[in-house]
């Protein structure tokens, strides 16, 4: 497995091998699925839309509905305006969404289609909406696309009425529905009225009912997005995925914002809860304090199995940073952190974390790939690999325990229902990690060292 990956360092500048990111549009599509009655629309050739739907479906095991401008060679030469017009008419006609959220592709971006102008030229039915975002595939990553789509929803729709509504706006980051549910549960437990954008819970984890719903019960409503302009504060969860949206809302509607790290682990969840508390000024309920205390208790209990264990973590920047900090809280050494998404901020934040926990010898890289991560792991072995499905080849090649966390996970089920965020998510993640390490200890132990009690 991966027999051609060599330990020796080699400086690549052109060949990307085994990427740890994908392109913007799929992120934009995911964000748009988190808006109620929204049809995500891919403005490009239909293969993009097919790939993205396929990929989201593989991760969530739920339908990912989206339409395409179905460019042919003609459209590529003459521009995609007429395709978009036809598409809009047909979509409103046939699928009757409340809103169409268009994202571009490398094709339409390279052609130079002016989406603002195109949409203005389209006859949108009364009470319906059409928005767009630019998601050139040759910039950033799927996280950027997610971020851009959120900002565009706000730019198109949010309005400041002049009267604050006392609500908290929350951009949850590129996370699973299970994570969004957990953030909402905590926010509700704090007695806070909020709008989460996007919110794919109820959409990408929708129940089996025997009836297919093109627009399931979940998702942020257009009205809620409009109302975001009157929020008191925005919490942007995850700098990479959520800050752009928060900035947009500040710029357009003067809603101040704070950027928080993804609430994975104790410290990051503490920040989340404290921020909520500073918003509501109410006491934190005991139930949350109890969950926190349970997680601390667990971490102390399991430390003999986690302390000084080296982990390689890859995936999306906000998630990797969150998991890395939690790993350090568990006494682990997050030896290698890799995200495919470009952005120096990732490396800076990682270095700050290493310093905070007094670690040296750890590496972090943005715009990296799994080939390089694998090289590092050959150079100095780790005890655990954490990331999405694509890590499984490395885990097998190097015979290293593997915990699936993040996006995408296309070879397992149920993960998208299960939060990693919050103290409860910490329990899950701690269990996944500890079990992986303990299972390995059991597997590798001699018969005489095989322990009944651990």
């Amino acid at each position: 497995m991966l027999d051609y990956t060599k330990k020796e360092q080699y400086d690549r500048s052109a060949l990307r091998v085994n990427p740890a990111k994908t392109c913007q549009p799929v992120g934009a599509m995911y964000a748009a699925l988190g808006v109620h009655e929204c049809m995500p629309h891919s403005h490009g050739s239909q293969g993009c839309c097919a790939f993205h739907r396929m990929f989201l479906t593989r991760h969530f095991k739920d339908p990912a509905m989206a339409s395409s401008s179905s460019f042919t060679e003609g459209a590529s030469v003459f521009g995609g305006g007429s395709n978009l017009k036809t598409a809009a008419k047909n979509i409103f006609d046939i699928y009757n969404p409340k809103i169409i959220a268009v994202h571009t592709t490398c094709l339409s971006e390279t052609i130079g289609d002016d989406l603002n102008a195109l949409i203005q030229g389209i006859d949108i039915p009364d009470g319906k909406y059409m928005v767009h975002t630019n998601t050139p595939s040759y910039k950033g990553s799927h996280v950027t696309g997610f971020s851009n789509m959120v900002a565009s929803f706000i730019n198109y729709l949010s309005v400041s009425s002049g009267a604050k509504n006392g609500k908290l706006a929350m951009i949850p980051g590129f996370v699973n529905p299970g994570d969004m549910r957990e953030m909402k549960r905590l926010t509700k437990a704090m007695g806070i009225s909020y709008t989460m954008l996007p919110d794919t819970s109820g959409v990408m984890d929708s129940p089996m009912t025997g009836k297919f719903e093109m627009y399931p019960q979940g998702g942020t409503t257009v009205e809620e997005i409009i109302g975001l302009g009157d929020s008191k504060l925005t919490l942007a969860i995850g700098k990479f995925a959520s800050e752009a949206g928060a900035e947009a809302l500040e710029k357009k509607c003067k809603v101040p914002y704070k950027t928080l790290p993804m609430p994975i682990g104790i410290g990051n969840t503490d920040k989340f809860i404290m921020e909520l508390q500073s918003f509501t000024k109410d006491e934190v309920p005991y139930s949350i304090e109890e969950e926190r205390g349970q997680l601390v208790d667990i971490l102390i209990d399991i430390h003999p199995y986690t302390y000084n264990k080296k982990a390689a973590i890859f995936g999306d920047p906000d998630t990797v940073l969150g998991i890395a900090e939690f790993a350090m809280e568990m006494g682990m050494i997050p030896k290698y952190l890799v995200t495919g998404t470009p952005g120096e901020a990732f490396e800076t934040a990682a270095e700050e974390l290493f310093t905070k926990f007094g670690l040296s010898g750890c590496k972090a890289k943005a715009a990296g790939d799994l080939y390089e991560l694998h090289q590092w792991m050959k150079e100095e072995r780790v005890d655990l690999l954490i990331g999405g499905t694509h890590g499984k080849y490395i885990a097998r090649a190097e015979d290293i325990p593997f915990v699936r966390a993040g996006f995408p996970i296309i070879d397992r089920y149920i993960h998208s229902y299960m939060p990693l965020v919050g103290y409860k998510g910490g329990m899950r993640l701690a269990e996944l990690i500890t079990n992986a390490l303990m299972d390995r200890q059991d597997r590798d132990s001699t018969e005489e060292d095989f322990e009944m009690v651990m």
Partner: protein
């Protein structure tokens, strides 16, 4: 059918009506196919790149395929298509890798050739491949990168084979364009270059078999058991060396007609090897196919061996098949898959007593529906004209024939060679044939026809299932397989049986909705 169409506006109605046929054996059953999808219609179709890189080239294990473009396309086609390949001594296997130039904005603005060349340089340093293939994605065509020139440069610079494929996603109307582009280049630059010694005269190529879920291995096992030599498989579990020797065979077997018929024809023209449409899906289908091949080779011993192997393989699966048939008899199915599978699997379903009530292709042409006799009447349109068609001449040295021209002509007349009859002839009156079945129609047909199973792909699988209809992917076999030949039939039967009988279906209804106030004894408890 009208119930479905009636909900469209007039333009869409008009267009989509031509893609739907209620089968009537006494009529022509003409269908529109291989034409562009209307924008905004939620199609399941993919693109040219997916057909070229994803389908045809992807399985070639020692081809180092660099996707030239932004990262997405390479990423999505990494390890996701289940074209399995074994390690082989002395042959590289890059299937677990994903290579791309990961083009950035500057490359789009200033051109990507430089980066592509650098990527090749790095590939050579790190991997030393003997073959590099370059597949371009959408923006590459627009910005005018000359990937063919780069390929030529690489061949000279590194003394390797380097082939470029201009398979930008916007070309054509579906994956089909990509197959064509891949086929052209393989004929141009690969087939005919080999010099492998062929050991028996019963030497065949298997064309259009990508070894999804191990189908190709099962087919090969069966053919070898009978005494055939498989010279090359296009392209499942193949090395470049296998493909280079395709001209040495004495017959080309065409499994997936749509994706590979260009190669089949060009091989015949250039090297004299006729092709036969085969079908290794379904027990009866496989038996007929094996007998047909034996007829071509026309050797008594081979024929006897064919019968013996059929009997033996049948013997091994009989009991299982009877069991599954008893569980499946009378069930109905709808099939909507890429190319030929929608046709092939009807045979296997028939074996199991399952009736196919709707079938369609995602990227088939009219000949896959109506048979090759319709080809002269297919009008090329702007989209199809954009895809290059190549012509070849007989190769003076490598042209060879196994049968006499007379025999060949006879077999052609019998439609045993160079012919494909299409799907409609095997469908019953009153069933539906729908091309490019889109989301809306899927939803509506499932509601109207209520099939027990819907065979499709990952994008519509969960749509069907949320609506209460079992769906199995026939692109990826839902990560099972092989489904080909005799043993594969049992796997297939097992898989759909478990799907239909899976107990979870009986829990779909929420019990408190149907019996809101239930009183009395529950679970062996005492009543109050």
């Amino acid at each position: 059918m009208e119930k479905v169409l009636d909900q469209y506006n007039s333009r869409v109605y008009k267009n989509r009506k031509e893609h739907m046929v209620t089968v009537n054996r006494n009529e022509k059953n003409e269908i529109a196919a291989n034409v562009r999808t209307i924008p905004g219609i939620i199609t399941q179709r993919g693109c040219c790149y997916a057909g070229c890189k994803g389908v045809v080239l992807g399985p070639i294990k020692d081809a180092f395929i660099i996707t030239h473009g932004p990262i997405g396309c390479a990423f999505y086609s990494w390890g996701t298509r289940r074209h399995k390949a074994k390690k082989e001594d002395g042959v590289d296997n890059y299937l677990h890798y994903c290579f791309s130039t990961d083009m950035q904005e500057a490359d789009i603005v200033f051109g990507g050739e430089k980066k592509l060349k650098k990527a090749i340089e790095e590939a050579m340093d790190l991997f030393h491949p003997s073959t590099i293939m370059i597949c371009s994605t959408c923006p590459v065509g627009l910005i005018g990168d000359d990937i063919h020139a780069v390929a030529k440069w690489a061949e000279q610079e590194y003394k390797i084979k380097c082939i470029a494929f201009s398979c930008e996603g916007y070309k054509g109307v579906s994956q089909s364009a990509g197959h064509h582009i891949a086929n052209n280049q393989l004929v141009r630059y690969v087939i005919g270059e080999g010099d492998r010694e062929i050991k028996t005269k019963f030497a065949v190529n298997i064309l259009g078999e990508y070894n999804i879920g191990g189908d190709g291995w099962e087919t090969e096992r069966l053919l070898k058991r009978i005494g055939y030599e498989v010279v090359s498989t296009f392209t499942g579990d193949s090395s470049m060396d296998d493909l280079k020797n395709a001209h040495k065979a004495n017959l080309s077997l065409v499994q997936c007609h749509r994706s590979i018929n260009y190669i089949a024809e060009l091989i015949e023209t250039k090297y004299g090897i006729p092709w036969m449409k085969v079908n290794f899906i379904g027990v009866e289908g496989t038996i007929e196919t094996l007998k047909n091949i034996a007829r071509y080779f026309n050797d008594p011993e081979l024929m006897a061996r064919t019968e013996a192997v059929i009997a033996d393989e049948l013997d091994l699966i009989e009991e299982d098949m009877a069991y599954y048939k008893s569980k499946l008899k009378g069930k109905t199915a709808a099939i909507y898959v890429g190319g030929s599978r929608a046709h092939h699997y009807q045979f296997l379903l028939d074996d199991l007593g399952v009736h196919t009530i709707l079938a369609g292709y995602e990227f088939g042409h009219r000949e896959e529906y109506e048979g090759r006799e319709v080809i002269p009447f297919v009008k090329p349109d702007a989209d199809s004209k954009n895809i290059e068609s190549i012509t070849v001449q007989p190769d003076p040295e490598k042209y060879h024939v196994y049968l006499s021209e007379e025999d060949i002509n006879r077999l052609k007349e019998e439609k045993l060679l160079d012919y494909y009859g299409g799907m409609v002839k095997d469908m019953n009156d009153g069933t539906y044939m729908v091309d490019d079945l889109n989301h809306f129609e899927t939803e509506e047909f499932l509601k109207l026809l209520k099939p027990d199973i819907f065979f499709s792909g990952i994008k519509d699988k969960f749509v069907a299932q949320k609506g209460g209809t079992l769906s199995r992917q026939l692109h990826s076999y839902d990560y099972s397989g092989p489904y080909s030949c005799f043993r594969g039939a049992v796997n297939f039967a097992r898989d759909i049986t478990m799907g239909i009988y899976t107990p979870a279906w009986s829990y779909v209804k929420t019990p408190w909705k149907s019996a809101p106030i239930l009183e009395g004894t529950i679970g062996g408890g005492k009543a109050c």
